[in-house]
Subunit: 709 residues, 2 copies
């Protein structure tokens, strides 16, 4: 069995941002970036709070980072040792992602000898408010040691500061920092307790932004001195209770609970791949991230595009969730999938408001959805690298396809769980409102019989304001058809007019057919654009950070696209198209696709599986599965930092593994398995939830079996 | 009586490009820039040929400049004296625009004393192929003089070179240079003869690009030595004959003919303003330019946006002609107006081809129309100052209003001349095809009863891709109504279906009404744009040459507009609106208008006249009338040079004078006069053609009279 451990054996300052992402731990309530204990905000530390938003002044609204209770460093004989300032003799950073435990060990040479710091920590999966840390010091000489550990309220922010009011203090062995946000007076409180296994003098210190303990002790040669910290994070928005008093909780007790919980999760979610350790490792690492950010116990919260790795993309929820992540939850912990959908149901009014703002009807879900469905996306979402001016983009106003993605996610959930009750719990209204929204987008030329949708941005964001984007039109039809189907299943007088309207819309909406070469044109006149390849377009960049899209980007007037668009549509409506058409479109669009979004490769991979080309699918599957493991992801859009974890790629990798390679699909309410695994794979085994039952799937090169457990 | 003479009394090298425009002479067949005789191409000399186009490689197609037969300079005792290299003692440049004669006098100090050069020249208004020049030398000391004069084929080009083949030579006293263009093998031949009134030795020289005479003589103190040159310009495209052999034509004879012809023109076209010499001067200077570029004797040629002042804007014909220039010709020489319209009729197929290219029906006239109605406008009509990349603009594909302007121009012509015959000569087809074009632009939202036009650029080019531009929609309705009216006047079975379609279009097209404040919103959501003033927007420029419009220009997301848009519509459909609405819109839009186009001020001025505010109208009238007299016009759009003469502003000034201040309008087929002249004006008098009759208009502060002559 391979180890689920991620290791970095050397220290490289340049890797700090990337390590912050790939060594992330989290429990859905918060994510803790994989930064080191001695780091302050300039190294992008974050205890990133799920769904807690604040807007500072005119800057972008974003999630809030809690005061950091992991902040700790060492002084030896009065001198501080810390990364990255002091070059270490050795350094190792590890993430045990089987158990959700982050650790590090660093050795420095001092004038008198070597000192060693070890630290492990975890975001409690059993008690979601808690963070635990064990920090250990040793030296190969006798010395005066001082461990400084505290709660650092001077947090990293992209569009902050968010805490307009900070209170710090200590009371009966518990230190605390409370920050209060400016926009909505949300308080975020972090409290901690310390337990040391040795004699020490402890002094407390509190400043404007933090509260610290100074732990002084004489260290003997070779002896390990450990402190254990239990920290609790709460907010005034919590709708679930803390469990237990942190003063009573022990590190080892909490760790045992935590690892037991992870075992329970892995029992259902682990995927075994025989014959390809690298793929198995990457896929399960992706699943680890999906588990770190799942909103367990949280009511009506969803998942941000960068998970809980920070404030990038404003901590907002994108279509990524319903398109790429929800499948994993539907088939492992359907309750989480329902929570994600509940977030959309709860924020229906936000979507209605947005539709109204644009003179449209129904529900236009936010491109970047924050609390209440509020649209976090600005009209100026990219900064021009040449002029440093904000650049008018059309993510917010023209990416009409997001509402359809939510309906699509809902239907995936209903089909796989049989939970039609959700329709009575608000989802029916949601579907109907989305259908009304697409209806209000339809236009007809005076002398043409069909409906069109003009002036949109499809999944490929590099081409703004196009007409009849194939994906968008097909998704609109899907929403009309879904609403019709549900109305017919649950008839009601109030839907009579709507029904006529939906039929009319579904019948007359323009759905682009493959051309004489079998290719579906991405939008009106796409084929008239300059037909060049990705590398050629890249070579035209003047500044590596410049935006490829917008009105004048290097890709804008070419056929080079950011991500799967027609290919996404084909993979989502595979039953409508022959394998030949799918293949031809894959072949056409692949060399024209930058894969500038982590949502892209998995779609190409999935469609390759659907055309029985697992070897073609494999590299793009690996690209998705390794999105957070491989350095060099896209970190800039214009001058806006867009780094972080890529849970949509993780979810996409899971979809390819299960629906693509394993070929899991449903027919007549039953799961079936038509595997198509790469040659080097000897087999796969995993578990799946389907309609309230858990199944074990076992595939080898000859057989495939699905067994109810 | 004031003199119609423009004078520059000092020499300033920086004024060379501007002087090239304002000292222009021309006869409709060609324009000759007001550069000095010794200049070569780096000083933008041009004998700019009307309607002769060539495209060199992938560069923009543009009009061709003929070899320059004016090229002449002096050597004294072997040393060359020329501007701008040699600082003069005195210099004067003059344009006698009553007679269409350009002259200059320059004095240089030499080692031995002063020398003087005088030169006068004209573009023959009587024999359109001819240019005449008289060049005179004198010195206040005895010297060896040499006049070098020739035909310089190394011409100034913006997107050249156009002559792929040059022949130069001399034959029996006549020198010649023939250039042949690359695209269509058009030959342009310039021939000249010389007559000198003194004894001299003449040597001829011909080079690859030119042919020159060296005229050597001993100059006596104080004596004037003159040479007279008659040059003939012909092209292989000419459809009229040269008159006479240049060897037989004398300078003085030709000059007498020429000035007589100008007298004849001025007899009808001069406008007298009592009490305001400045206005009268500027207005008649504008009229001078309109006369220099009028395509007299040319069949089916029109006028370029920069007249005959060079290749700016590709020498192409814009809506300017039918919107702003044609009125002057209609009321002075209607045959010229008909020639302009004939150009549009002849190029109907070009307009059909353009409509087809965009999947539209009918006739979509070119934004920049060249020979055959070919669209000269590129999709990339501006260069980004920051990246130096061509910038995707939407002048070509989205300025739908140009077809309507042509129909509008036609109806002005028909109404004022009563020449309905033109309808049988192709104009009816043109109107019908324009109506079909607008019909094909109409779209209807699925559940709305009215038609809209989306994704357009209105007259205000700073806001691209807007919906329901008030001007464009109104003009489309005008075309529907005009076509209907003409079909009803000249019924034909073939129009039965069309009639139903036109009625439907006219009735249902969305025409924006004034809002609760009386303001007509320029396009959908215009009022939601940032409401700032022109100076604020200007202050945001990083580079003075950067383009204000496009997707990211400083004006794009503000209410600042380039030029009259709603105001243009109001002035064109004044009978549909109350004076109060006109006033309110003037007040609203004026501070938001950059007047970045020479087509703007006159529209504001005209509408001010219509609201009985001549004093408000006056400064904008003067701005139009002085467009070519005042330095500091807009010379750059991005990195593209856009300087030149402004005949649309000249025509606009004429419209304001006659239709605004004099208040000439027609009621029931008769001209009437409701003057509204500025306070300082004592009166106006001018002549007008109307329905084949010439009228004298005489206005003073008490009375107005229109008398048939």
């Amino acid at each position: 069995m391979i180890d689920f451990i991620l290791t970095e054996k050397e220290f490289d300052k340049n890797n700090i941002p990337w390590n912050g992402n790939r060594f992330l731990i989290g429990n859905g309530y918060f994510g803790i970036r994989g930064t080191l204990e001695e780091y302050t905000k300039e190294y992008m530390c974050a205890v990133n709070m799920a769904g807690i938003y604040d807007r500072a002044g005119d800057a972008w609204r974003e999630t809030v980072n809690a005061p950091n209770p992991l902040y700790t460093y060492i002084k030896v004989n009065g001198k501080k040792y810390a990364l990255p300032e002091n070059e270490p003799v050795s350094h190792i950073q590890m993430l045990d992602f089987e158990n959700g435990i982050h650790s590090r060990k660093t050795v420095w040479k001092t004038e008198n000898g070597e000192i060693t710091i070890k630290c492990e920590r975890f975001a409690s999966m059993s008690r979601r408010h808690l963070i635990a840390m064990k920090y250990t010091f040793s030296s190969d000489f006798e010395c005066d040691a001082e461990i400084i550990t505290g709660i650092d309220g001077d947090v990293w922010d992209i569009n902050g500061p968010h805490f307009v009011n900070m209170r710090t203090g200590y009371d009966d062995g518990v230190n605390y920092v409370t920050g209060v946000t400016g926009e909505k007076n949300i308080s975020v409180t972090v409290r901690d307790t310390i337990n040391a296994d040795f004699n020490a003098a402890v002094e407390s210190e509190n400043t404007e932004n933090g509260v610290y303990r100074h732990i002084f002790f004489k260290a003997e040669t070779g002896k390990e001195y450990s402190i254990e910290k239990i920290a609790e994070v709460t907010t005034s928005e919590d709708d679930f209770k803390t469990q237990g008093d942190i003063a009573d909780i022990t590190y080892y007790g909490l760790k045992a609970e935590h690892t037991a919980e992870w075992s329970r999760i892995w029992d259902v979610s682990k995927i075994t791949i025989d014959g390809d350790d690298e793929a198995m490792y990457a896929l399960n690492y992706s699943i680890y991230h999906l588990n770190c950010i799942a909103p367990r116990e949280l009511k009506g919260k969803s998942i941000a595009a960068r998970g809980l790795s920070g404030q990038v993309y404003k901590g907002a929820v994108f279509w990524d969730t319903e398109m790429f992540m929800i499948d994993y939850y539907i088939h492992t912990e359907p309750q989480i999938a329902k929570t994600l959908l509940q977030y959309r149901i709860d924020t229906l009014n936000g979507a209605r408001t947005k539709a109204e703002e644009y003179g449209l009807k129904g529900a236009y879900y936010a491109w970047e959805s924050q609390d209440g469905g509020y649209e976090g996306c600005s009209d100026y979402n990219v900064t021009d690298v040449f002029t440093k001016r904000p650049m008018r983009t059309h993510f917010r106003d023209k990416q009409y396809h997001v509402s359809a993605a939510i309906v699509y996610g809902l239907m995936k959930y209903i089909n796989a769980t049989g939970d039609y009750d959700i329709l009575n719990e608000g989802a029916m209204d949601m579907v109907v409102e989305c259908a009304r929204f697409y209806r209000s987008l339809l236009i007809k030329k005076a002398d043409e019989p069909y409906y069109e949708i003009h002036d949109v941005v499809g999944p490929d964001e590099y081409h703004e304001r196009v007409n009849n984007n194939a994906y968008t039109n097909r998704m609109a039809k899907f929403v009309f058809d879904t609403a019709l189907e549900l109305i017919e299943k649950y008839p009601s007088d109030e839907y009579d007019d709507l029904k006529i309207m939906l039929k009319d819309s579904s019948e007359k909406i323009f759905i682009r057919k493959p051309d004489e070469n079998g290719i579906i044109e991405q939008f009106d006149s796409y084929f008239k654009l300059e037909d060049v390849r990705v590398d050629e377009v890249r070579s035209r960049l003047i500044d590596p950070k410049e935006y490829w899209g917008g009105a004048y980007g290097v890709a804008a007037d070419t056929q080079v696209i950011k991500q799967a668009d027609v290919v996404a549509m084909l993979s989502m409506f595979k039953d409508d198209y022959t394998s030949e058409i799918m293949e031809k479109n894959l072949k056409y669009y692949e060399p024209r696709t930058e894969h500038g979004s982590s949502l892209s490769a998995c779609m190409y991979s999935l469609l390759s599986c659907y055309t029985n080309k697992p070897e073609t699918a494999y590299p793009m599957f690996m690209k998705s599965a390794k999105a957070d493991l491989i350095k060099g992801g896209k970190e800039w859009a214009g001058l806006v930092y867009i780094g972080g974890t890529h849970p949509a790629a993780a979810g996409g990798a899971w979809i390819v593994a299960v629906k693509g390679f394993a070929g899991i699909t449903e027919e007549d309410g039953k799961l079936i398995c038509k595997p198509n695994i790469p040659e080097k794979w000897q087999g796969m085994s995993f578990k799946l939830m389907y309609r309230n039952k858990l199944y074990a799937v076992r595939i080898d090169r000859e057989n495939a079996a699905i067994t109810e457990i």
